[in-house]
Symmetry: C2
Subunit: 167 residues, 2 copies
């Protein structure tokens, strides 16, 4: 991972102590309208109970460089789910999100998962393009903001594009 | 469960189709200030991935009577976590919440869990009294609204009382 383009990054498991740190960067890293309260989708429970399938990336400077919060489904154990992924804006296009996904795919495949799911908001074009490039198929039941999405997927007004990819 | 005081209730596992139904009752069932958007803590993923440890209770009239959304921790497998529990207001004090908890305790104990955790808001006295009656110990690092709670537990301004109980 060490290269002139990408200073040394350290990948490790998430801990509960990372919760506040991750929550603290989300609005800044996303920087899209309406994402000021996006951190609410990431309560502490993910860092308590899915730490062993979630990854934190520390930069050489000690600052948070990226994270992936994901888990294996308990009621559909062939399915893995990526809940939240973030990369520090100055590290975008460095391949870090791809590396986080590929590491997660590998772990989940080794656990016996055959599919990985994720969701995003209809307005998050960057996420939609990334998931398409990573081999995910997007689904929806209607068109919202010009993209196929599931209306009220996560509750009233909470439309989502759903992604699936075989493992 | 059939008695003059409590019409027949049917306990079953949660399904993804229950998500919209549960989300739709939360503001009405809670009815506390600031709980209008409490349903946002219950995204669809809980009904997709933790359906096999979550319970829906249907009333004799077909209407939702209660629910418990919980799971076994993946990174701390000796810990079970109750994320969200609701009982229809006209069924309160009938023992339904207690029954939901006791069924969950039994299942989690059989899975190998030794402890069950839950959280609530500092303002939710009803929940605090219920957890005390169910044998939970409450913790916090400060006093908020007159109760011990953890400041910013789930993010900025999201203080929580944490409960723990041996299984």
């Amino acid at each position: 991972m060490d290269s002139p383009d990408r200073p040394a990054l350290a990948f490790r498991r998430a801990t509960e102590a990372d919760h506040a740190r991750v929550v603290g960067v989300i609005a800044d890293w996303w920087g899209l309208p309406g994402t000021e309260s996006l951190w609410r989708l990431l309560p502490r429970l993910f860092f308590q109970h899915f730490a062993n399938t979630s990854t934190i990336v520390d930069g050489a400077d000690g600052a948070l460089a990226g994270f992936l919060i994901g888990f294996r489904s308990q009621s559909a154990p062939e399915v893995a789910y990526i809940h939240f992924v973030g990369v520090r804006p100055d590290l975008r296009r460095s391949g870090l999100a791809r590396t986080l996904y590929e590491r997660f795919f590998e772990e989940m495949r080794a656990s016996g998962c055959r599919r990985v799911d994720a969701i995003t908001g209809p307005g998050n074009r960057r996420s939609q393009e990334f998931h398409a490039a990573m081999g995910f198929t997007a689904t929806g039941d209607t068109t919202i903001d010009g993209v196929r999405a599931w209306r009220d997927y996560d509750g009233p007004g909470e439309h989502r594009v759903a992604f699936s990819r075989p493992l």
